[in-house]
């Protein structure tokens, strides 16, 4: 029991460290002055008002939403089926696929990004918004597969036999028993894919042009010009959206789904 205060103190310090960037940027966004600084100089919401008025920022945000939607819409069916197939059947390519699932951690994004840039350039898809969604889906699909695989692995194989003994054929069993049982994993994966695509920067940077920038690229461009507190405001909105997604996830399916993946 004696170590408890110490452990608690360390944990608190770590939490503060993790939260510091978000807290600083949120603080800076509330400044009443004209430059980004922390602590803020006076309190006001005027920079949030500026963000709402700025057309480029709003358009970029809508484009990011489009990217995230395309990405999620593709990732849900393909990732779900892939995860179920991987968890259920042993086949020869299984090892190769396991390696593929580690890619997001090993291959630098700039590498995949350049590959996609060349490919999309060949296909004449550069400078449009929806291909960025496809790109995000391709790059982040392992996260979707992990989330669903965690649910599939936790699934009792007797459940599908039980469905058969109730008279359900293979298709009915899949639709009425297997899918609902892994739904938490699908939902979790979908939310993760959505947030990752919404935040995706490097790949977007390579695939879009000046008229089709996504929000992270827009922010980056503005930083290179003048750093004004409205950037801090946009970043804060971002943090809030991500936090909302995590909260939603926890409310809907519980976060332990990620702790269960192998």
């Amino acid at each position: 029991m004696r170590q408890l205060p110490l452990a608690g103190g360390v944990a608190l310090a770590l939490l503060l460290l993790l939260a510091a960037p978000s807290l600083v940027v949120a603080g800076a966004s509330l400044t009443a002055g004209g430059i980004v600084q922390f602590p803020p100089e006076g309190l006001s919401l005027r920079w949030y008002g500026r963000v709402l008025e700025a057309r480029e920022v709003r358009d970029a945000f809508l484009r990011s939403l489009e990217v995230a939607t395309v990405c999620t819409a593709l990732a849900v069916p393909s990732g779900t089926l892939a995860a179920i197939a991987l968890a259920r059947w042993r086949f020869r390519a299984a090892l190769a696929i396991q390696l593929y699932l580690l890619l997001p951690f090993t291959v630098p994004l700039i590498g995949s990004g350049i590959g996609l840039m060349l490919l999309f350039g060949e296909l004449g898809l550069l400078g449009r918004v929806w291909p960025v969604g496809i790109a995000c889906c391709v790059i982040n699909l392992p996260f979707m597969i992990w989330a669903v695989a965690a649910s599939v692995n936790a699934l009792d194989p007797e459940l599908e036999r039980a469905a058969a003994s109730c008279g359900a054929g293979p298709v009915q069993t899949f639709l009425l028993v297997t899918l609902p049982a892994v739904a938490p994993g699908i939902l979790a994966g979908a939310l993760v894919m959505f947030v990752l695509a919404l935040n995706e920067f490097l790949v977007s940077l390579l695939l879009v042009d000046a008229r089709t920038v996504t929000l992270p690229v827009q922010i980056y461009t503005q930083i290179r010009a003048v750093i004004t507190p409205d950037l801090a405001a946009v970043s804060t909105v971002y943090v809030l959206v991500a936090a909302a997604a995590v909260l939603l996830l926890d409310r809907l399916v519980g976060l332990e789904i990620f702790l269960r993946s192998r």
Binding site: A164, S165, C166, Q172
Partner: protein
């Protein structure tokens, strides 16, 4: 049964055929035969328990009957029809699984309604039927709960209702009671018996609990190492085990080893112990090694110097010593050493409440039993199919 034609599974029937007929059934995983050879018949309306230790092939047998797996050899007939090509969802079988396998995203009532929806019962008829079966398993009013909001015993009942609600012609139970505590288990055993009698559904129950087998069944099959060692009614299997393994698995007590002589008699050293061979097929041949099972509850203990306790004819009377006395409430379990039988340890059960703890460890006693209770077998059987 007010059921539409579509609701009835597609197995055609000859009305006099047995419910289940397995001939030479076998299933192999890789090089190992999980089930080597199973042949048996089960008449309609009967309750059969398949009893055997872990890994003896019980679940494999059920999977072949349910159609979840295909036999590598042999055939299953259900109600007279060959079903080798019939997929599981078209067989007239309800099943309760070891881990219950309730659908977690459905309520209790939803679980019970599922087989009715899948088997295309008239939708107007479904709610009443669900209600009726929830009542049958004493779950009235709990239909709206999800499985995780129910206790273990209640979940068990949902699984039973789900397996029975479409009035299957055959009910399969794969150790559904294994995880319950003793009291709930005994309660559910009686529940199974009651429901099975009420509906008259032919049932195959799998367990490794010998008590459950004896309590519930019309017929018992004892399995070991992927083979059927004995089939019969519970009393016969208990009284006349056909195989040394069956005797041991039913908890007979002590196994004695020696040589057989005509009679039959078991010879251990110089001592001749008359016994009985319950099954001619497994009887020892004179001069060959033999193994004998001695029922613990039939071994009488008397003070070393005293006379016989009662008037029954007791053939043997050996000098022994109490090594251990375990008080178990309604009985005392003794471990006795008998120097004359090469220091063998005998088990004896004393069910006489007045006699509890009459003999302390170290006490000299005389030990007796009737030849009827010494069951003799060919010793080569033990090495042959010992699991």
């Amino acid at each position: 049964m007010a059921v539409g034609v579509a609701a009835r599974p597609t197995v055609p029937r000859a009305d006099t055929a047995p419910a289940v007929e397995a001939t030479g059934l076998g299933r192999r995983y890789g090089e190992v035969w999980a089930l080597e050879e199973a042949s048996f018949r089960l008449e309609r309306g009967q309750f059969l328990t398949v009893l055997g230790p872990s890994g003896s092939g019980k679940s494999t047998l059920l999977k072949l009957i349910a159609g979840f797996e295909r036999p590598d050899r042999g055939h299953v007939r259900l109600f007279g029809a060959e079903v080798d090509a019939v997929p599981p969802h078209r067989r007239p079988i309800g099943m309760v699984f070891q881990r219950l396998a309730l659908f977690p995203h459905m309520t209790a009532a939803g679980n019970v309604a599922f087989p009715l929806e899948m088997r295309r019962f008239d939708p107007r008829e479904i709610p009443a039927r669900v209600e009726r079966f929830l009542k049958l398993v004493r779950l009235e009013g709990l239909g709206g709960r999800r499985p995780h909001e129910l206790s273990g015993g209640q979940q068990q009942r949902v699984a039973i209702a789900r397996a029975l609600v479409f009035e299957p012609e055959l009910l399969l139970l794969d150790e559904p009671l294994a995880s319950l505590d003793v009291r709930l288990k005994e309660e559910m055993q009686l529940e199974f018996r009651r429901i099975q009698r009420e509906l008259g559904v032919t049932t195959i129950n799998v367990t490794h609990d010998q008590r459950e087998a004896l309590v519930l069944s019309d017929r018992v099959i004892v399995m070991a190492g992927g083979r059927i060692l004995q089939e019969g009614d519970p009393e016969t299997v208990w009284r006349d085990p056909a195989h040394p393994f069956v005797a041991r698995f039913l908890g007979v007590g002590t196994m004695l080893r020696g040589r057989a002589e005509a009679g039959p008699v078991l010879r251990i050293g110089e001592r001749l112990l008359p016994g009985r061979a319950p099954n001619p097929a497994t009887a020892p041949r004179p001069g060959q090694p033999a193994v004998a099972a001695l029922r613990a509850e039939r071994v009488r203990i008397a003070p070393a110097d005293g006379a016989d306790g009662d008037g029954t004819r007791l053939a043997e009377r050996l000098a022994g010593r109490v090594e251990d006395a375990v008080f178990e409430g309604e009985r005392v379990l003794y471990e006795l050493s008998v120097p004359e039988l090469a220091g063998l340890r005998l088990r004896a059960i004393d069910r006489d409440p007045g006699g509890h703890a009459r003999y302390r460890p170290g006490a000299p006693v005389s030990v007796q039993w009737s030849p009827d209770d010494l069951l003799l077998f060919d010793a080569s059987l033990e090495t042959g199919s010992d699991p």
